[in-house]
């Protein structure tokens, strides 16, 4: 029996604190060395303000703050961070771009820089520097970074992935040792799962995240598209009809009630053992590890099945950071952007996000978070597999509006629930898309 005294406890505490200090100090040392050699020298007396989306995981924000601390100590540039939920970053950034005052940097949803491309600082040099150093950018990140132009107007930081979550034993019982990789098989799977009383479900209510990701996957998997590459509305096509029919059949094999589901519904139902497959970020798994170990052990993640088009058609959300042209300290902004994505910073940061977030630079495939638990591995590839919002069309405001207004989601919901026939559902969506893309 160890005899704990106040003194010994104090000592232990100091030792622990010291261990923390060492790594922090090492980071600062490295940061100082980095600042000496980095191509961007912050202006004298520079100060930065940043508005970022509000974290999903506290640990991620802690790691981010630590990173900023090191930046400030190394460069002498203080960074003031404020946080808003990701939907609210956009209106604030729009107002800032309009009035020419506000935070220097914004970190929000993919559509953000494309709302006011001419107000975003040209960061091509930063993007090229990072791309060269870290194995290149994934395709979708390049499109999100440049839009339709030739210059990079933002630096893609991370994706939040949404993939299939499914229970292992129930799937095995239904005759599937692995999650189906093709859409046809997936229908068989859903049918068998429902027949044995272990159904799954995708949200068909106004669920911004879960609803939009699966219906876009379904539309694209069958070759349907909202617009073509010139932003011409092409939703009214036989492919869209096929996608609708597929979704309706699938809907028949889902648990009843998905038409009212929001983003939280499938998490609840999965953790309560009501559903056995759904689409989600890694949050169900993380929650299960904490509170429902049996589910965590009996579940896994899989890519969305591949449809008749023969390639992945997933949609994941990307979060870029951009600097405004009105900033008085463009060099400091660029230095911070590059600093965030350097391996010494980015590796611990992406690790702290526990798989919720995925990198856009190929070299970070090697981060141990993706292999320490094989169930994390599918999320490693979401950036590579993701198509961009708007599909073939531009990635800007129009695509974001169509998603925010649930145009395609409502089209699917209208048809699946039997409110409209295919023609009616498509014509409502077509009319709305024409207005958005005019």
């Amino acid at each position: 029996m160890t005899d704990f005294t106040r003194r010994s406890l104090l000592k232990g505490g100091t030792a622990l604190a010291a261990a923390g200090m060492v790594s922090s100090e090492a980071l600062v040392e490295w940061a100082k060395a980095w600042a000496q050699t980095a191509p961007w020298k912050p202006e004298k007396g520079a100060k930065l303000a940043m508005l970022r989306w509000k974290y999903f995981v506290q640990a991620e924000d802690d790691a981010f703050v630590k990173m900023l601390d090191a930046f400030t100590k190394a460069t002498g540039v203080p960074v003031e961070v404020s946080r808003e939920s990701y939907e609210d970053v956009q209106p604030k950034a729009s107002v800032a771009a309009n009035t020419g005052t506000g935070p220097d940097l914004f970190w929000g949803l993919y559509s953000l820089p494309h709302l006011f491309p001419q107000k975003c600082l040209d960061v091509t040099d930063v993007a090229e520097y990072l791309g060269k150093k870290y194995g290149g950018w994934v395709d979708s990140a390049v499109k999100y970074g440049k839009g339709s132009g030739t210059k990079w107007i933002d630096i893609p930081i991370c994706y939040s992935g949404a993939l299939i979550n499914y229970r292992l034993e129930a799937s095995k019982k239904a005759g599937f040792s692995k999650f189906p990789a093709k859409t046809d098989e997936f229908l068989e799977y859903a049918k068998a799962m429902k027949a044995q009383g272990t159904p799954g479900g995708f949200a068909l209510g106004h669920a911004s995240g879960d609803g939009n990701t699966w219906i876009h996957w379904c539309l694209w998997a069958h070759g349907g598209n909202a617009v073509d590459k010139d932003d011409k509305v092409v939703i009214n096509s036989p492919e869209t009809v096929k996608a609708l029919e597929y979704a309706k059949t699938l809907y028949g094999y889902m648990i009843p009630g998905t038409a009212s589901w929001n983003d939280a519904s499938n998490n609840k139902a999965f953790l309560a053992k009501e559903i056995f497959w759904t689409n989600n970020g890694i949050s169900i798994y993380v929650a299960a590890q904490n509170s429902a170990k049996d589910i965590a052990e009996d579940m896994d993640h899989a890519y969305f099945p591949i449809g008749p088009v023969g390639k992945p058609t997933e949609l994941h959300l990307m979060y870029p950071v951009l600097a405004m042209t009105y900033t008085k300290y463009p060099q400091a902004c660029k230095a911070l952007m590059a600093f965030m994505l350097e391996a010494e910073n980015f590796n611990p940061w992406i690790q702290s996000a526990k798989g919720y977030l995925t990198h856009c630079l190929n070299a970070y495939d090697a981060n141990p978070i993706w292999t320490v638990d094989p169930k994390n591995t599918p999320y490693r590839d979401v950036a590579k597999r993701s198509l961009t919002a708007g599909g073939l069309g531009s990635v800007g405001e129009k695509a974001a509006t169509a998603i925010a207004d649930f145009v395609v989601l409502d089209m699917f919901a209208n048809y699946c629930t039997g409110r409209e026939d295919a023609k009616g559902a498509i014509s409502v969506a077509e009319r709305q898309l024409r207005r958005i893309y005019r």
Partner: protein
């Protein structure tokens, strides 16, 4: 010394009374001065936003960006938008059904609470609870009650053996409409009940005594004494109740976000979705502006329809 000099000077040249002096001291103008702060307040926080909203509905403004004048273009688009008309239908259904039931239940409760009951004060306080709970909280509670998988209602009925599958409260079009209407009634009844109760207590007991002596039945007492004396307060309560119901937002937004397939979108939630979520401020403003005629009509009905009696306007009832 200087003071004395000044006084002397003032005596020598008596100043003319200027218009400004009159304005400063005139009693009628004084009233206007006193009202000025309130007027500024109203213009700044009521008239200006209303005017701005109407102006926005004639522009193609986007979130964070000035728009240009486009005339009736937004209204033109909405005229052929089935989702807009669906939201109008939903709003009218929601308002009429919920208001009628809130009135009926509220009046019934008020009459009950006006009787001599044991623990009267406590019961009256309890009735107010749904009204006190923040709307968002009660909406979340209802969201759980109506959950497709975890509803306690479905669970209980299943245990009793009345149903074999969960009821799809919010996923089926008509179920969802009745569910949100139910939640709204639950929330709105106390306001109607307590206000009508206050009205009932102003009715003089001597009227009832006289009627009883004349042999009036309970129904006759209600019909010829309570109801006529209660009309002014009914007019006020129902105007407010209809206005609140018509512009309801929180309950719907928390419970269904307008789903399933827009079956519970009210004009208020639809306007928010178009204006803020999708960023089409102009179109959202047009949807909001389209609510104004309905609201004006409500006010007109209650003020002109229910306040016809002369004594209610301050003269004798002959």
């Amino acid at each position: 010394m200087a003071l004395a000099f000044d006084q002397a000077a003032a005596r020598v040249t008596p100043r003319d009374v200027t218009a400004w002096d009159r304005l400063k001291t005139n009693r009628h103008w004084l009233g206007a001065w006193f009202m000025l702060p309130a007027a500024v307040f109203l213009v700044l926080f009521l008239a200006y936003p209303l005017g701005l909203g109407i102006w926005l509905s004639f522009t193609d403004a986007r979130l964070g960006r000035e728009g240009i004048f486009v005339g009736l273009e937004n209204y033109d688009f909405l005229r052929d938008d089935p989702v807009f008309w669906l939201s109008v239908f939903n709003t009218l259904l929601y308002t009429s059904v919920a208001s009628a039931l809130k009135f009926a239940i509220g009046l019934y409760l008020a009459l009950l609470l006006n009787e001599h009951l044991p623990f009267k004060a406590i019961i009256r306080a309890v009735v107010l609870i749904p009204f006190i709970v923040p709307t968002v909280l009660s909406a979340i509670a209802f969201w759980w009650l109506f959950d497709p998988q975890f509803s306690i209602i479905s669970w209980s009925l299943k245990k009793i053996g009345l149903i074999s599958n969960n009821i799809d409260f919010l996923g089926n079009v008509w179920n969802a409409r009745w569910s949100v209407i139910f939640a709204n009634i639950w929330r709105g009844v106390p306001f109607v009940a307590i206000t009508l109760l206050a009205g009932l207590q102003t009715v003089s007991p001597s009227l009832y005594e006289a009627a009883t002596i004349d042999g009036a039945s309970p129904w006759q007492r209600f019909r010829y004494i309570t109801y006529p004396l209660l009309t002014p307060i009914i007019a006020v309560v129902m105007t407010f109740s209809v206005l609140f119901t018509f512009t309801d937002f929180q309950l719907i937004w928390v419970m269904t976000r307008g789903g399933p397939v827009n079956a519970t979108h009210l004009m208020a939630t639809f306007s928010y979705q178009r204006a803020i979520m999708s960023g089409y401020l102009g179109e959202g403003a047009a949807i909001s502006t389209a609510m104004i005629p309905f609201l004006l009509a409500t006010i007109m009905v209650s003020w002109f329809g229910l306040q016809r009696r002369k004594w209610q306007q301050g003269s004798d009832n002959d």
